[in-house]
C-alpha cells in the first residue's frame, strides 16, 4: 500500500511524505529535533517574548513535556485500547514517589536519575497490572469509576501511610539529575528541556512502533469489539493488561522526570484534577492519534499554565480600558471551563482526529446483549 501511494504522489512533498512513512522512527526523531530547536526561537518573537523571558518559556516547555508524556501514555489506554481510565494520575504519583524513594535524603539513597527513569517506569507498570487486574471484567463506565477510585486511593495511601512517605509533609530535597558529571541545576532549564525532548522523542518512536505492531492491532481490535477480538484468538486479558502496563509506565517516566525537576513530592499533587486534565488533553488532541494527543497536551498546558496566568499582562498589553481593570487571575478557571466546553462543541472529535478511528467509542455495542461478557477472568 505504501508503495502504491508513493507512486501516485510524484511531487516533492509527496515523496517526502512517502519517505517519512517508510522511515517513521527517523522522521519522528527529526521532527522532534526541529520542534525542539524552533520553539526557543519562536518565543523570542513578540508578543510571546513580552510575556516572560526565554528561560521561563523553556522551563515551561520542559514542564509541558511531562504532560505530553502523560497524555501519550493515557492515549495507549483510552485511545488505542479503548479502556476509559479516570485515575491515571495514580501512576504519575507512583513514578514520582519511586524517584523520591530512590534519590532523596529521606531514604538516604542516591540512585542516579537515568536508571531511575527505568525503575519508575517498571514500578508503575507493575502497579498498572495489579490495579488493572480487578477491572478486566468491567466495561465502559464501570471501568471508569473503578479507575477513578484507584486515582483517589493511591494518593490517599501516600497521604495516610505517613511512616513510609512522610505523609502530608511530602518528601523534599530530592536529588537532581546528572549526566556524565554535568549537574542539572534549578537555575538553568536548558538541560531539562533537552533531556525532556529526548525522552519524548524516544517514547513517541516506541509508541508509534507499538501502534503499528501486532500488539497495537490487538488493542484496536479490543476497542472495536472485544468479543470478536477474543474469537479471533486475541488473549484479551493479557492484551488489556499490557495496555495498562505500558500506559502506566509512561506515566511513571513522567513522574520520575517531574520529581527530579521539582525536587519535591507531596500527596496533594496527584488529585483527580490531574487525571481529568490529561484526559481532556487526550480527547482534545484526537484520541488514538499519537502526535495529535501530544499537540493537545501542549495546547492545554500552555493555556493553563501560561495564557491563563498571564491574562492580566496580556490585556495590559492590549490597552483595552475595561479589560485592564478586571483581575483575570480570579476568573481563570471559569475561562478554562468555558474553553473546555467551547473546544469540545467546536471539535467534538478533537483537534486532530485520526482519520479512520473517528468513530471510536461511538458505538455502544448494543449487539452484545445476547452474549454476556466472558466470565472467566478473575475469581469467577
Amino acid at each position: 500500500m505504501t508503495t502504491a501511494t508513493s507512486k501516485r504522489l510524484p511531487s516533492p512533498w509527496g515523496r517526502l511524505r512517502a519517505r517519512a512513512r517508510d522511515h517513521r522512527s527517523l522522521t519522528i526523531l527529526a521532527g522532534w529535533a526541529i520542534v525542539a530547536s524552533v520553539l526557543p526561537v519562536i518565543v523570542m518573537i513578540p508578543p510571546l517574548s513580552t510575556f516572560q523571558p526565554e528561560s521561563l518559556w523553556i522551563d515551561g516547555f520542559a514542564n509541558a513535556g511531562v504532560f505530553i508524556l502523560l497524555a501519550m501514555g493515557l492515549n495507549v489506554v483510552v485511545g488505542l485500547a479503548g479502556l476509559l481510565d479516570l485515575g491515571y494520575a495514580a501512576f504519575f504519583a507512583i513514578g514520582s514517589y519511586a524517584y523520591a524513594f530512590g534519590a532523596s535524603p529521606f531514604t538516604n539513597l542516591q540512585i542516579p536519575f537515568w536508571p531511575m527513569l527505568l525503575v519508575g517506569a517498571v514500578v508503575a507498570a507493575t502497579l498498572g497490572i495489579l490495579l488493572g487486574a480487578p477491572t478486566l471484567r468491567l466495561r465502559g463506565d464501570y471501568l471508569a469509576i473503578v479507575t477513578l477510585g484507584f486515582g483517589e486511593i493511591v494518593p490517599a495511601v501516600f497521604l495516610n501511610a505517613s511512616a513510609f512517605t512522610k505523609g502530608t509533609n511530602g518528601i523534599g530535597g530530592i536529588y537532581k539529575p546528572e549526566l556524565f558529571g554535568f549537574q542539572f541545576t534549578l537555575e538553568n532549564p536548558v538541560p531539562y528541556y533537552v533531556a525532556m525532548v529526548g525522552v519524548l522523542a524516544i517514547t513517541m518512536v516506541f509508541l508509534y512502533r507499538l501502534q503499528g505492531s501486532r500488539l497495537g492491532r490487538a488493542w484496536m481490535a479490543i476497542r472495536e469489539d472485544e468479543l470478536a477480538a477474543a474469537s479471533s484468538g486475541i488473549n484479551t486479558i493479557t492484551t488489556k493488561l499490557l495496555a495498562f502496563a505500558l500506559g502506566a509506565s509512561t506515566a511513571g517516566l513522567a513522574g520520575v522526570f517531574a520529581t527530579s525537576k521539582l525536587t519535591f513530592v507531596g500527596p496533594g499533587q496527584f488529585g483527580f484534577q490531574v487525571s481529568f486534565t490529561v484526559l481532556a488533553m487526550v480527547v482534545l488532541g484526537g484520541m488514538g492519534n499519537i502526535w495529535g494527543v501530544a499537540t493537545g497536551a501542549f495546547v492545554i498546558y500552555t493555556i493553563q499554565a501560561v495564557l491563563l496566568k498571564e491574562l492580566n499582562q496580556f490585556f495590559a498589553v492590549l490597552h483595552v480600558p475595561i479589560l485592564q481593570s478586571i483581575d483575570f487571575v480570579q476568573y481563570q478557571y471559569l475561562l478554562y471551563g468555558v474553553a473546555l466546553v467551547a473546544m469540545m462543541l467546536l471539535r467534538p472529535e478533537g483537534l486532530f482526529p485520526s482519520s479512520r478511528r473517528r468513530q471510536e467509542l461511538h458505538a455502544t455495542s448494543d449487539d452484545v446483549a445476547d452474549v454476556p461478557p466472558p466470565t472467566e477472568a478473575l475469581g469467577a
Binding site: 477510585g149 486511593i153 455495542s365 448494543d366
Partner: protein, 328 residues
Amino acid sequence: MTVDFRRVIRPVAIGTIALLTEYALLGTQQFANALTLGAIYALIALGYTMVYGIVELINFAHGDIFMVGSFLAMWIMTTVLGLSGPVTNLLNLVGLLSIVMFATMVGMGFIGMFIERFAYRPLRHAPRLAPLITAIGVSFILQNIISSLFGPSPVNVPQIVPLDKFAFMGGKIGYLNVFMVVLAVVLMIALQLFVGRTRLGRAMRSTAQDREAAELMGVDINQTIAITFFIAAALAGAGGVIQGLYFGSIKFDLGFFVGLKAFTAAVLGGIGNTTGAAIGGFIIAFVEVYATVLGYTQWSEVAVFTVLILVLVFRPSGLLGQQLGERA
C-alpha cells in the same frame, strides 16, 4: 398488582435484616447519622443514574448542580424570604419549607435543562468522551460562578428547622434527621411511580432502552431527555436544600466529592437502576460511618472505593445491574 416474592418480599426482607444488623452494630446515634448521610447521597445518586440510563453520560457536573441547589436554597431563604434562624411555628415551618423546596427544585430543574441544551445536546452524536469533557468544563464553570457570586469561603445557611432532638432507644435523634430521611424516601417513591406509571415515565424508559425505536414510536427524544435532566437536577436541588438545612454551611466546592460518592453509589447499585442508586447511597454512607467509628476516617474514601471494587469484581454490573437490562 400482585405481590411477587422475588421482586418485592425478598428485597424488603433482605433490606430489613441488613438495616437491623447495621443498627445492632452501630447503635442508635451512628445509625441515624448514617441514614441521614445516605439520604443525601441517594438523592444525588438518583440523578446520576437517570442521566446515565438515558444518555449514557457520566454527568460530572451533577455534583456541582447539587452544590448550586444548596446555594439557590440559601439565597431563597435569606434574600427572598428573609429568614435567618429557626422557625418554631410548625405551620409556618411547613409552609416555608414547601416554598423553599419547590422553588429550589423547579429552579434547579430549569438549570439542569439549560445545561443539557447547551453543553450536552450538541454532542449527542459526537464520540462518547466529548460530552464527558464538557461535563468537566461545566463543573468548572458552575463552581467559579458560585465562588464569584458568594465568595470562596463557607456560607451560612439559615437552619430554619429547629435542631431539637428527641430521645429514642438510648440515643438522641434530631427531628431534622427524620425529616430528611422521610423526604428522601418520599421523593424516591414518587420518582418510581413517575417512571413506572406515567406516560412521560414510559417515554423515558423506552428512550433508555432503545432511542431510535422510541423515536420511531413517536416519543419526542429531545423533550424526554430534557425532562430527565430536569428531574435529575430537581432531585439534586432537593438534596442541596437538606444539605444546607442539616449542616448549616455550604461551600462552592462541596459538589465534587459529594458527587463522586454519589456516583460511586449509583455504580455500586447498578448504574441505570434507580432502586440500586438509592441502595448504593445508603451503603456508601454506612461504609463511611463504619470507617469513622473504627477510627479510620482518613481511610474512609479508600474504604468506599474498596467496597465498590470488590462488589464490581464479583458483580460486574453492580448490585442490581441486570434488572433494567443494562446494555452491556
